[in-house]
């Protein structure tokens, strides 16, 4: 099985998986980070309580998370076509991945920001800081370790989801695993893709944790 063609395919699959994962994480945060900030800020314990806005965001976050990813993948095909122009391949998979990841990322951001010590926020308020300063200089800065751990978790989760997209021809390692391992009974190819996926997750997880630890100044 180890001909050039197979190796090229596995390398391409790995690149595709990384591309899907990282693009989806990036766009997931572009949508999820502001949403998470809004959730934390408008919560009744937040710095700008707004029950109405919170309820709406809360509902959206729960709604999307309650749809199984496989179904979402099919459900959003029209949106995917409108944005990417086609419904298969790695770029097309990014769309449902972002839609699934953004609310999940928003929840993680929300919980990270809520961990920030209330006293420190009050200290900033007592100095006359406005809401924007508090969000940037206090909430996001103080929660950075927890946020980075969140990014690591998000990447791992999105990587797993991206493999699922193989079912609808999404490309990447998951696609290879399904085509060769499931449809053609080539278990060895499937095992190789699994090993690569495991290695990727371990690598990204280790990298994320190392970075967040290095940036954490809370320990003496």
């Amino acid at each position: 099985m180890w001909d050039n063609e197979m190796i090229t395919m596995l390398v391409d699959g790995t690149v595709d998986t990384l591309y899907m994962t990282l693009m989806s994480t990036l766009f997931g945060y572009i949508l999820g980070l502001p949403m998470g900030i809004l959730l934390a800020v408008t919560d009744k314990e937040g710095i700008r309580p707004n029950a109405f806005l919170y309820k709406i965001l809360d509902f959206i976050a729960n709604l999307v998370r309650s749809i199984p990813f496989l179904i979402l993948l099919i459900l959003v095909i029209p949106i995917t076509k409108a944005i990417v122009g086609k419904s298969y391949g790695p770029s097309a998979t990014v769309v449902p991945l972002v839609i699934a990841a953004a609310p999940f990322i928003a929840r993680m951001v929300e919980s990270s920001l809520k961990e920030v010590d209330r006293g420190v926020i009050e200290a900033a308020m007592s100095m006359g800081a406005n809401t924007t300063s508090i969000i940037w200089k206090v909430l996001l800065a103080e929660a950075r370790t927890s946020l980075l751990v969140g990014v690591t978790i998000a990447i791992g989760t999105i990587l797993g989801y991206s493999a699922m997209a193989g079912v609808v021809g999404g490309g990447g390692l998951g696609d290879i695993a399904i085509r060769y391992g499931y449809y053609r009974y080539q278990t060895d190819v499937m095992l190789v893709t699994i090993v690569i996926l495991v290695l990727l997750v371990q690598l990204l997880q280790g990298l994320g944790m190392m970075l967040s630890k290095r940036l954490d100044k809370r320990r003496a």
């Binding site: 010590d117 006293g119 420190v120 009050e122 200290a123 900033a124 308020m125 007592s126 100095m127 006359g128 800081a129 406005n130 300063s133 200089k137 206090v138 800065a141 103080e142 950075r144 370790t145 940036l215 954490d216 100044k217 809370r218 320990r219 003496a220």
Partner: protein, 335 residues
């Protein structure tokens, strides 16, 4: 010039499932510029709520909070933020930004006020020098002791060039030695920068150490207020008496016989009053507790005496103390 802080009919009501509770109930007082004003009360008396109403971290349910001639609840958000920059605050748990260096913590209020980074850093180093921590500029708060953290918090307050400093139980998490050094620093700041300081505490010793004026808060209400000396020599209310006697906690176990607390100030310390009274009435009396405190640089003494059982002699002794211009209080109801 009028008082720098003036509170009128201040009330803060909290809603809970158990109904309404007034944490601060119709409180009135004013603080003159340059004073160190203490607010003392047992825990749950509403002190923290009261001090947080002074910079509107807590919005009063009703009443007025004047800072200079501005009534805080009337201000717009932008005006309030501007005014808050002139009211510094330090906290029991320091509330430093844990992910910033000491220097950047001190820079923080200047950043908020829109100062250039270079200028802010230069000034921050000056303030760190004032609190004696310039060599810790590059450290992170987690690497500092409690006392050092509070010094950083004080430097951070100075950075916003405030007129008022609110201290919310600022020494309650510190050991006695460190407390003393922080109080000395606060006193220095009061003198060198002319900053009016409001000190919230449950410890009489803190009040005696640095305050010029004091207000006693009891169950949300202002029990009494005045100079620290007056409170020490002649507390008018039960709440004040309890706080003063708390300073010598062993007194709680002394009830039973007829007890009086006498206080000396200045010159009366030189008269051998106890010796005189024993010689005069030929009856011994028992000294249960004695202490000398330094209140605003003056030596102030207090003593708890157990009087003879003979009522007539005991009355005469009390009379004698009064003639000698000592503060005398009967303590029979202390329990």
């Amino acid at each position: 010039m009028g008082p720098i802080i003036k509170v009128e009919h201040l009330k803060k009501v909290f809603q809970s499932s158990a109904g309404e509770t007034a944490a601060v109930d119709d409180v009135n007082f004013s603080i003159e510029k340059g004073d160190i004003f203490g607010i003392i009360g047992l825990s749950g008396a509403g002190k923290s709520t009261l001090v947080r109403c002074l910079n509107l971290l807590e919005r009063p349910s009703s009443g007025k909070v004047f800072i200079g001639d501005k009534n805080l609840p009337d201000l717009s958000e932008a005006e309030l933020r501007k005014t808050r920059q002139k009211i510094g605050m330090i906290f029991q748990h320091f509330n430093l930004l844990m992910q910033r260096t000491v220097l950047d913590n001190v820079c923080f209020p200047m950043e908020i006020a829109g100062m250039k980074k270079k200028e802010a850093r230069k000034r921050a180093l000056e303030f760190l020098k004032t609190v004696g921590l310039e060599e810790k500029a590059r450290s992170y708060p987690a690497q500092l002791s409690g006392g050092q953290k509070q010094r950083v918090a004080i430097a951070r307050v100075l950075a916003s060039d405030p007129e008022i400093l609110l201290c919310d139980e600022a020494t309650s998490a510190l050991d006695p030695q460190t407390t003393k050094s922080i109080l000395a620093l606060l006193k220095k700041i009061n003198q060198d920068f002319g900053i009016t300081i409001v000190v919230i505490t449950h410890e009489m010793s803190v009040i005696q150490e640095i305050c010029s004026h004091v207000a006693v808060l009891d169950h949300g209400k202002l029990a009494e207020s005045g100079s620290v000396e007056a409170l020490f020599h002649a507390p008018k209310t039960e709440a004040a008496r309890r706080l003063i006697l708390n300073a010598g906690s062993q007194i709680k176990q002394m009830h039973g016989k007829r007890l009086v607390r006498i206080t000396f100030s200045g010159q009366s310390s030189f008269e051998p009053v106890i010796g005189n009274v024993v010689l005069l009435y030929k009856t011994p009396l028992n000294i249960l507790y004695a202490d000398t405190k330094n209140i605003n640089g003056k030596a102030e003494g207090e003593m708890i005496l157990q009087l003879p059982e003979d009522r007539l002699t005991a009355d005469k002794m009390v009379e004698y103390f009064r003639q000698e211009k000592l503060g005398v209080e009967e303590l029979e109801d202390v329990g």
